[in-house]
Symmetry: C2
Subunit: 484 residues, 2 copies
Amino acid sequence: MLDREQDSIGPLPVAAVAGWDLEADVVVVGLGAAGACAVLGAVEAGAEVLALEAAGAGGGTSAMSGGLIYLGGGTPLQKACGFEDSAEDMFRFLMAASGPDPDRAKVRTYCDGSVAHYQWLVDIGVPFKPAFFPEPGLEPPTDDGLVYSGGEDAFPFDRLARPAPRAHKPQHRHAAGRFLMDRLLAAVEGSAARIETDVRVLRLVVGPDDRVVGVVARRAGRDLQIGARRGVVLCAGGFVHNDEMVQRHSPLVARCSLRLGNDFDDGRAIRMAQALGAAVTRMDAAEVAVPITPPRKLVAGILVNGQGQRFINEDTYYGRVGQEILFRQGGEAYLIVDESLYEVTRAGLGASWVAETAAELGTEIGLPPGSLSATLDLYNRHAADGHDPVFHKAAPFVRPLEGPLGAYDLRVTNPACFYATFTLGGLVTSVDGEVGHVDGRAIPGLFAAGRTTSGVAASGYASGISLGDGTLFGRRAGRAAASP
Amino acid sequence: MLDREQDSIGPLPVAAVAGWDLEADVVVVGLGAAGACAVLGAVEAGAEVLALEAAGAGGGTSAMSGGLIYLGGGTPLQKACGFEDSAEDMFRFLMAASGPDPDRAKVRTYCDGSVAHYQWLVDIGVPFKPAFFPEPGLEPPTDDGLVYSGGEDAFPFDRLARPAPRAHKPQHRHAAGRFLMDRLLAAVEGSAARIETDVRVLRLVVGPDDRVVGVVARRAGRDLQIGARRGVVLCAGGFVHNDEMVQRHSPLVARCSLRLGNDFDDGRAIRMAQALGAAVTRMDAAEVAVPITPPRKLVAGILVNGQGQRFINEDTYYGRVGQEILFRQGGEAYLIVDESLYEVTRAGLGASWVAETAAELGTEIGLPPGSLSATLDLYNRHAADGHDPVFHKAAPFVRPLEGPLGAYDLRVTNPACFYATFTLGGLVTSVDGEVGHVDGRAIPGLFAAGRTTSGVAASGYASGISLGDGTLFGRRAGRAAASP
């Protein structure tokens, strides 16, 4: 059982509502990236919109992010940087990288709508500088606009689809999440929508036939009953800061050092909908980033698990590396480098062990005798020929590791090693944000987007997917909710 | 979204019920092992009980099983076979083997109540022969009563708790599930409970304050409204035969060749409760058995993944091996043996490749060049000294593999290799079977047990846990539902 909620989370029958304190056609819950775009979508569709934000201002977890937006299929920015891309290549990549078995309809809608969505973002005031930043992974420290962010050019994806960089960074130095949200919120403020902050939504109000017709919210200790003539859109974040939900659905996430989100990522919106019979999916899924780079040269080292074995191509997306370590390698991994590669990572992690030989290093770490030597022997033998037929790391990062060796401690139990995580599971929604009931129908009047839902990144991940999925499907959900 | 249900699954308000077609203190839904014991528990507690079974007779998936019941802590059968055990050793094993982070209260209740539960089963007519069967894993082909079934005597569990065999098999040759159910159903039939078969429960009936007060069921095309004065107990199986739910929560399970269950393992009871706001947990978890034994001698071979690497101690429980292959090794594994070990498995699987050397065998299979040789070199080097410091297989199964080698194809894509699976996730329940709402309270009047719930085996598994958990917590749920 969960710790019992202080306030009931179950639906309130509309018969118990004496009158609405506030009313609009569409009520949007949460003003992160998904919520802001839901507001804009609903306004575009001609609705009177009321946005409710629990914090003192909009932004949410989106404003704490790097600001990367995963877009492709041949955006003007991709073209300006000299990259070819197609919706089909983007689709093939995402179906392979977001699985197993991501929602095909969502991935298709996302890829087919990506170029138009880029243009919409530009039109509402989000600028992108047409410059490619060559180091993949983290958002660029420059204001360059395009970067690889999902291992598109690494095995196995480079063989499944033509690689293209797809992380679009709004034109701003360093992390651009706050900048992006400032632009989205400026567009919201410039629209006809009404914004109420410091308003925490507690439960849904349902009419006959279980149609959602409003919400109960609290501001300064007072409950407000807020009517939604056409629909409610839940864009209230995920559940990574709800310990009980994490324990219930994805207990390994609780072992990570850094839960990306804010206090309002407590899954309450998911549970408000569940109390109405809403279906959830992939509640075990989570992004887990272990930033072994920058510097990029470190991927020329090898990653080994607790048995001294390699388990992944080191040049892939570090979010993929993190998921692999946490979910499939028992939370235990080490990065092995030689002197030519050694450098403290930008995240501040250095070598915990050094030794003259692989055998000694394995002993220092406490790996099974002979295992690290056997792994390095095989790796070096192939590397001398310039290739890695076991895990298919790209040739530029493949060369023998020689001389004294060092090992970085990437275990989840090492507090100095960041494991940055957030949840990917949530409500089942259609491509128009309709929330699905466990009986298969859509719950009338209820919509959702962003991390409150399970999206394009069903289980796998690439940096920029959350803002891409949240903004594109947020706008679609707002438009659908506004449709009479 | 799910394919839309033909019949509504949402709760029916009691105000819509003109009168009950049938009525009892406690209504038990499903007559597998959990349901039968829920009936007996409720009758013991003095309730008038009505049992509803969707099929033409009771038995359910329990009757299709091997009949093993996981019990311990020093049962008379364990003692008669010369094994010492304690509730504490059983607890330590299950906390480690059922994780990550199984429900501590459930595991504690299960272990502390195990000896008494054994006696209760004997008293109601389930016989056990005090004889130990030495080959672990599958139910014994003899009528012997005790067998290892969870890798208790293998790494790492042998170091965490004193090993003891805990799978108790009712005295019957070969699979004993049908025999067990005959005895449990005879006890039900000998009780004061009323049994109705061919009755399919469609939805719950709720009174004021969302208390569950009955069910709507269908028999021969006619809907019955059935009142439950004290409580409803859902014991209607898991969801492995619901394609949409499997796809939604654990898509890799859909790739397995053999889904253990029957057509009524469609998750409807889980969804009926979810429609009322019930919480679910560990919906991604599933048991996956890849029976590489018997014969037991095959565990002296080595299991390798698609990179030619070992990944587990081969002498552990084959259900653990199956979970590891499916969930953490990409569904790809091979069993490598030499001529002295070679034998077709009892499941009918023989070698798909043979070769004179490891290098040739690796090439035949299509493993990366040099990888199988490197793995075998390291294994043989240690095995020559009689130990396996990398994966800790027990010494009796450790010796070098020499001469011509053969490889069994254990890939999930090989239709000749059984992947036998069923779901472990389900409703959140207390140790008394109360169903938890997403707001943390118990839903009044609603109880559940068996595979409709998430139980002791939260994610990991040992053979016999489903019947052990279902019978023990089924009885407790029945007793609790009967309490006014």
